[in-house]
């Protein structure tokens, strides 16, 4: 319980910090008045730029965190996350295709479609009829699909003009720059619908944790439950990517971070913690990316990539010590 309070306080602190800190100075007093009206540069910055940006960060981070947690529980493997499994690179490729072909398709939609296609490809390629797919095969096939898609992406990058390539690069690394209330509304709507769907499947996750045989014995249709959960997880990742671009590693790190902070045992508690941790992580990483180099607003993906890679390495060495890899 105490952990949950800590996580909630962290989230509030991160939100306030990301509203206060930036190129335009906003004081604590101005924060309160600025949110509810008033003008002057501080209040406008707050209402038009920082508040929607923070709202998008919380929504997207929460969705990515939930998505990662779903996959990690589903495959009972801390390395199973949409970033590792090709979803993110598929989304990136779709963005590039849309920019190169000059499609009028909105980029978030393209990212979602690309991510879904890549995820479907990974699942189909690693599936063998009559066998349960080992989680690690899935991870490796995901990497393979990632390699192939990024090769194609590299090809497309050589065909772009300088300005288009810069635009593409910004999108590809995942960014929260210039998000408005429309984006916030979009990600919050999608995330809440999907989170509700996930909440309805908590019992299935609980049963699957006992092992497939036992779960089936207790009356769960395991194959169908797995597909439904995987679909929910992919849709959650898509909701996040659609507004923030393929931000790497938030989905991978959120659930373990949430579990460590709250120590929650129940499935629902772990999911909620993952969502909270994902939101925190996204807010803090975005803030750090904005503030790291004065005068230069780095996209958030640069920061989560730099944070996530050491985490992945640490996780690997842990798994190796446990003898699971």
């Amino acid at each position: 319980m105490r952990g949950a309070v800590v996580l909630a306080l962290l989230l509030i602190a991160a939100t306030v910090a990301s509203l206060l800190i930036g190129d335009v100075h906003v004081g604590l007093a101005a924060l309160w008045h600025g949110l509810w009206g008033g003008d002057g540069p501080g209040a406008l910055t707050l209402r038009i730029i920082r508040a929607p940006r923070a709202a998008v960060a919380i929504g997207a981070g929460g969705a990515l965190g939930l998505s990662g947690a779903t996959f990690q529980m589903l495959f009972r493997n801390p390395l199973a996350a949409p970033d590792i499994m090709g979803f993110t690179s598929g989304a990136g490729l779709a963005i590039l295709v849309a920019i190169t072909a000059g499609l009028t398709l909105p980029l978030p939609l393209a990212a979602t479609v690309g991510g879904l296609l890549a995820a479907a490809m990974v699942v189909l390629l690693s599936h063998r009829p009559g066998h349960v797919t080992p989680a690690l095969t899935l991870v490796l096939v995901g990497l393979g699909v990632g390699f192939a898609t990024s090769a194609f992406g590299t090809f497309l990058m050589t065909r772009l003009s300088t300005s288009a390539a810069t635009e593409a690069q910004r999108w590809l690394s995942g960014s929260l720059a210039a998000r408005d209330w429309g984006h916030a509304l979009q990600v919050w709507t999608m995330s809440s619908v999907l989170a509700t769907a996930l909440a309805l499947q908590v019992r299935a996750l609980d049963l699957l944790e006992l092992g497939d045989d036992l779960a089936a014995g207790l009356g769960l249709r395991t194959e169908r439950a797995r597909w439904a959960l995987a679909a929910t997880g992919v849709a959650l990742a898509a909701a996040g990517v659609a507004v923030a671009g393929p931000v790497p590693f938030v989905a991978l790190m959120a659930a373990p971070l949430g579990a460590r902070l709250t120590g929650s045992r129940s499935m629902g508690g772990r999911l909620a913690a993952a969502a909270g941790a994902g939101a925190c992580l996204t807010l803090v990483a975005d803030l750090a990316a904005r503030a790291a180099i004065p005068g230069l607003q780095l996209p958030i993906g640069v920061m989560t990539g730099a944070l996530g890679a050491p985490y992945l390495l640490w996780r690997l060495s842990r798994e190796m010590e446990k003898g699971e890899l």
Partner: protein, 327 residues
């Protein structure tokens, strides 16, 4: 018989590289370009100044990557080991972008000078992080350690690129490895390094084979596992560094060639190494020529061609790993 096929592939690669391309050239032109070169004849100029350096770069880079892949896969007993997967390309790209950021616009000489140390450092780092020296690295450890380092370097590269637009121009053409700017690359010098690396690999071959039976057994046979691993790593680093300097990042060649070489040469590591050098050069030259012909006059760069072929091969190998073999 299978050996003849490998040599045939190499010969086909050489001939196709010289003959095919945007400008049509006849075999007679090639013959005359070598026997009686005429600087006024555009066909001769194309052959001597564009396609011949390209051929040289393809031979050097292809043979080096084939050899490096075979040494790496034997050393780690890991069918997914490949210089590209092990971070070499990301390391080289990182060094080049950093150089372009700090020193302004990078020229080819600078790129080459920076690519080598970047590649070498990254591959050594991944190898150590993945538990390569403990001698029992599973396929997944190294692969994921490589993926992690790749992600880290890519996000740093991304930050640098967004700080200065010129560096993006350097990066996006460099990252797609290619044989097309071969004339500006130090093919001659790098071929000496490749030769040294190949010699070292051939000398090490029997001891590497002993090592692949397991560290304990190798020690019993009178070899020193740590020393052999360090020497093999040196050979791999020299080979991949040279290949990256000549052709930029060429993905997956080191992944695809070793199984083919094993098929051709049987289970004798020295013969396997020779076969992988021949096959590596042959596959790279054919892939490069194919890339030039798909969408003329634009060319799909060789590194992209090999990655497009290699991605599916990687997936195929990953699927075939038995769950037990993944530990």
């Amino acid at each position: 018989m299978k050996g003849l096929l490998a040599v045939g592939l190499l010969i086909a690669g050489v001939v196709l590289t010289l003959l095919l391309g945007v400008r049509t050239v006849t075999p007679a032109d090639v013959w005359h370009a070598f026997t009686a070169p005429d600087p006024q004849n555009p066909a001769h100029v194309t052959i001597l100044w564009i396609r011949l350096p390209r051929l040289g770069a393809g031979l050097v880079a292809g043979a080096a990557l084939g050899l490096a892949g075979t040494v790496m896969q034997t050393l780690t007993r890991n069918p997914l080991a490949d210089p590209g997967i092990l971070g070499v390309n990301a390391g080289a790209s990182f060094a080049i972008v950093l150089g372009a950021l700090l020193l302004g616009q990078a020229d080819y000489g600078l790129m080459t000078a920076l690519a080598f140390p970047g590649a070498a450092l990254a591959s050594a780092a991944v190898f150590l992080l993945g538990g390569g020296l403990s001698g029992d690295a599973g396929p997944i450890r190294l692969t994921l350690a490589g993926a992690a380092l790749n992600a880290l370097l890519l996000s740093l590269i991304s930050a640098m690129v967004l700080m200065r637009a010129e560096t993006l121009e350097v990066l996006r053409f460099w990252v797609a490895g290619s044989l097309s700017s071969a004339i500006e690359r130090p093919v001659g010098a790098m071929s000496l390094i490749v030769l040294a690396g190949a010699t070292l690999a051939l000398i090490l071959a029997p001891r590497l084979e002993a090592l692949s039976l397991g560290a304990a057994l190798a020690r019993g046979l009178g070899t020193r596992p740590g020393l052999i691993q360090a020497q093999a790593l040196l050979a791999v680093t020299a080979l991949t560094g040279a290949a990256v300097s000549v052709a930029g990042p060429i993905a997956f060649l080191g992944l695809m060639v070793p199984p083919l070489a094993r098929h051709v040469a049987g289970h004798d590591l020295r013969r396997e190494l020779v076969a992988s050098a021949i096959l590596g050069a042959g596959v790279l030259l054919v892939a490069d020529t194919a890339g030039r012909l798909i969408f003329p006059p634009a060319e799909v760069r060789a590194g992209i061609m090999t990655a497009l072929i290699g991605g599916p091969v990687f997936i195929w190998i990953a699927r075939r790993l038995k769950p037990g073999a993944q530990t």
